[in-house]
């Protein structure tokens, strides 16, 4: 279909994502990336070399058929491209926006060896948005009802994926969610300016249209236990996808001061509770206008928190990270956007104490400088404190984004569910089966904080084995 020669293809520059200007976007919560137009998307698609050996597919955790869907864009059949995408990826509008493409599909793309890799994420987002805009989401056919009931605990990407896969196979699917909104981190963690809530809602509505039931305000382990789901509510299988939502603090002095937040709280107030629209919405947040805000950490969560603080009017937004920019686990695009918006990176530093203004409010942090030593088990060079290098920085708000761990609510109320040393749910990696018959688990509650697409991949795998279990009855 693509009539261009390889030489002509590589001459086309990688298309730029149209985005809001940094000056204006740091004052609003609208999405930063505006999306490709049809013509730009087609031009970008023409760059693909249609390799025989599709590295791009291998490096996508769910094996999206990149070459095939891109060729359908070249052919101009966007809806077919979207359908092709949905064969492997049920939430393309989301992954196209938030996958760390540079480490995955685009990291594998051959073009990247000499030129810039194909903008696979942009194209993925494009086909999903196009499909939604023309209002023709290709909802899959449902198999005849099987009479089997599946409960899904947690409505993040892992849970939603399993819900989508199993409803198609004719099972009755109920998703239980502790919060009042569906979507997990996609709605309470990742901000509007990166992933508009409407997009998550669109996907959830698609699932509803297929017949998935959603029950919010149910904390499994508290409101109902896993055993009760089986014994009293007649479920035949349960998929646990409760994420890794427990915030880690740094256990340094002053963490209880007013003005010190966990990233989860800071982001939940803004995203889930819409504190950025206080007092129209009731939940408040520390008034960041004109204030000095620091976020500690270097991942996507840290980036989201610091960029949020700028949008809330912070005068200075510092990102304090103990390694260097090169080691930051955040998506490259987010780091770029953050810098454009004026986030000040303070690399090779870490707070050792939060300082009290005398009446219980934060006035600053005492930090220490770091040096990179030998690599640790993650392969990244270990930060080592430099003795005598302590310094103080004036702050009004500090947000701790140094990671999360497993929430124990389900595990502690399900005695025969085995956990790992760190409290995550132990599963057979091939089948996502837990130690308890009928119970499967996947996503961050198994791996620890990872990515949207890995959670979806785990969901996909689990759905396959749940299907097998439900049809054969063999554990």
């Amino acid at each position: 279909m693509n009539s261009l020669s390889p030489k002509e293809r590589v001459k086309i520059p990688r298309q730029k994502m149209p985005e809001q200007e940094p000056e204006s976007r740091r004052k609003n919560f609208e999405e930063v990336n505006l999306g490709l137009e049809l013509e730009l998307a087609k031009r970008e698609a023409h760059r693909c070399l249609e390799c025989a050996n599709t590295k791009c597919v291998e490096t996508c955790p769910v094996g999206v058929k990149v070459k095939d869907f891109v060729q359908l864009i070249v052919a101009g059949d966007i809806l077919a491209a979207a359908a092709k995408m949905r064969e492997d990826n049920v939430l393309p509008a989301i992954t196209g926006r938030v996958c760390p493409q540079e480490d995955q599909c685009e990291g594998g793309c051959i073009l990247g060896k000499k030129f810039k890799p194909l903008a696979i994420g942009y194209l993925e987002r494009f086909v999903a948005d196009y499909e939604a805009a023309v209002g023709k989401v290709g909802l899959p056919q449902k198999a005849p009802a099987t009479g089997k009931k599946v409960a899904i605990v947690g409505s993040g990407p892992a849970g939603l994926t399993v819900a989508g896969d199993l409803i198609q196979r004719g099972h009755e699917v109920t998703v239980f969610e502790a919060l009042h909104e569906i979507g997990g981190v996609l709605v309470y963690g990742i901000p509007q300016f990166r992933l508009p809530k409407e997009i998550v809602r669109r996907e959830v509505d698609n699932l509803r249209a297929l017949g998935v039931r959603f029950e919010t305000n149910v904390v499994v382990g508290k409101t109902v236990t896993i055993d009760e789901l089986f014994q009293e509510e007649g479920f035949h299988a349960v998929f646990v996808a409760t994420g890794a939502g427990l915030p880690q603090f740094m256990t340094i002095p002053g963490e209880h001061l007013n003005g010190v937040y966990s990233a989860n709280e800071f982001l939940t107030r803004v995203n889930l509770m819409r504190a950025y629209r206080f007092p129209e919405y009731d939940s408040p947040l520390y008034d960041c206008r004109g204030k000095n805000v620091a976020v500690i950490g270097g991942g996507n969560t840290a980036m989201d928190a610091i960029r949020t603080s700028l949008r809330l009017g912070a005068a200075n937004g510092y990102l304090i990270y103990r390694r260097t920019e090169a080691e930051m686990p955040a998506r490259i695009e987010e780091v770029k956007h953050a810098k454009e918006e004026g986030v000040q990176l303070m690399m090779l530093a870490a707070p050792v104490e939060f300082l009290d203004n005398g009446s219980g409010w934060l006035k600053g942090a005492r930090c220490i400088r770091m040096q990179l030593g030998e690599p640790d088990d993650s392969g990244r060079r270990r930060p080592v404190p430099l003795p005598g290098s302590e310094f103080e920085i004036a702050l009004d708000v500090a947000v701790i984004a140094v990671g999360t761990t497993a929430n124990p609510l389900v595990q502690s109320t399900t005695p025969d569910l085995k956990t790992t040393r760190k409290g995550y749910i132990a599963v057979d990696e091939e089948t996502m089966k837990t130690s308890k018959q009928g119970v499967f688990a996947g996503g961050d509650i198994v791996t620890g904080g990872a990515t949207v697409i890995l959670a979806m991949g785990a969901g996909r795998k689990a759905a396959g084995s749940i299907q097998q279990y439900l049809t054969t009855g063999v554990w």
């Binding site: 508290k222 409101t223 709280e265 009731d282 219980g360 929430n407």
Partner: protein, 291 residues
């Protein structure tokens, strides 16, 4: 949506609600609480489950109108709805036979302590209830508490009913008179709980308080409810809300509860100037919008 099947004032500014929430009613134990979001623009506020009826599928709450959300809630009537109710959250009270248990409730704390008093009585304890209020009109649940207590002492700040003075006065007298007190449970405003802790501390009487920190999710996810107990950070929503009073750092609790004072005042002023928008939102409008 959760249906309110009964709403009535039991004192000025304190309203009793019965809400249909069958899953919660079935699982709830004394000491548990729920988080309620009145309407889609509302915040999530913790309220103790004062009672439940598993057969009818209802839970009972007592709400004291102090700020925007609780005052808005107290405008709701039988037949209205609230958007969200989630629970039962927190650790249940540790109910056991201790011997003599003194349960002290200050203000709406009386309602919060009530279910635990009932359970303590059922566990065979001799229950002495001390009910404190600012004045006669604010005394709640007197007959219910009298029915389940072995002894009841009432105090009001102004002496308009019962004894004049603070709840700690009769407590001190009991202890000084040599009554054997095995456990004290105190629920109410922070200064009251702290004062009770100081009364019992020298005698080494085990004392439990219920901490009212600011919450969002109630599941351990945000860390906003953190309190300092025995010099360690604990999450009131999952590790509490009841803690050993002698180990609680009340200064940190008081300070953290003042975090949003400005915003709370702004919110309340705006609401009191014109409660109609919020009320409409609670009653129907917002429900129709898919927010």
């Amino acid at each position: 949506m959760f249906s309110i099947i009964e709403a009535q004032f039991v004192a000025p500014d304190v309203k009793k609600f019965r809400i249909v929430a069958p899953r919660i009613a079935r699982k709830r134990k004394a000491g548990h609480f729920v988080l309620v979001r009145v309407h889609p623009k509302g915040e999530r506020v913790p309220l103790t489950i004062a009672d439940s009826d598993p057969a009818a599928g209802t839970i009972t709450l007592f709400v004291q109108g102090i700020g925007k959300t609780t005052r808005l809630m107290n405008l709701l009537e039988t037949g209205d709805y609230v958007s969200d109710v989630v629970g039962p959250l927190g650790k249940a009270s540790e109910i056991a036979f201790y011997g003599t248990v003194v349960v002290i409730g200050g203000g709406v704390g009386t309602a919060i302590a009530f279910p635990t008093s009932v359970a303590m009585k059922q566990a065979g304890n001799h229950v002495i209830s001390i009910i404190g209020a600012r004045n006669r009109d604010l005394v709640i649940l007197e007959s219910e508490i009298s029915a389940i207590s072995d002894e009841v002492i009432l105090t009001t700040d102004d002496g308009s009913y019962g004894r004049k003075g603070l709840v700690i006065d009769p407590l001190k007298e009991l202890i000084e008179a040599g009554r054997k007190v095995d456990l004290v449970l105190a629920i109410g405003p922070i200064p009251m709980m702290r004062a009770v802790a100081e009364v019992t501390r020298p005698y080494g009487i085990k004392t439990i308080v219920s901490l009212n920190s600011i919450m969002i999710d109630g599941t351990g996810m945000c860390g906003g409810c953190r309190v300092v107990v025995a010099d360690k950070t604990q999450f009131a929503c999952v590790d509490g809300p009841e803690f050993d009073a002698h180990l609680v750092n009340f200064d940190v609790l008081r300070q953290r509860n003042s975090l949003y004072r400005e915003a709370e005042r702004l919110s309340l002023d705006k609401f009191q100037q014109d409660p109609s928008a919020d009320l409409a939102c609670a009653k129907e409008m917002c429900r129709l919008q898919n927010l």
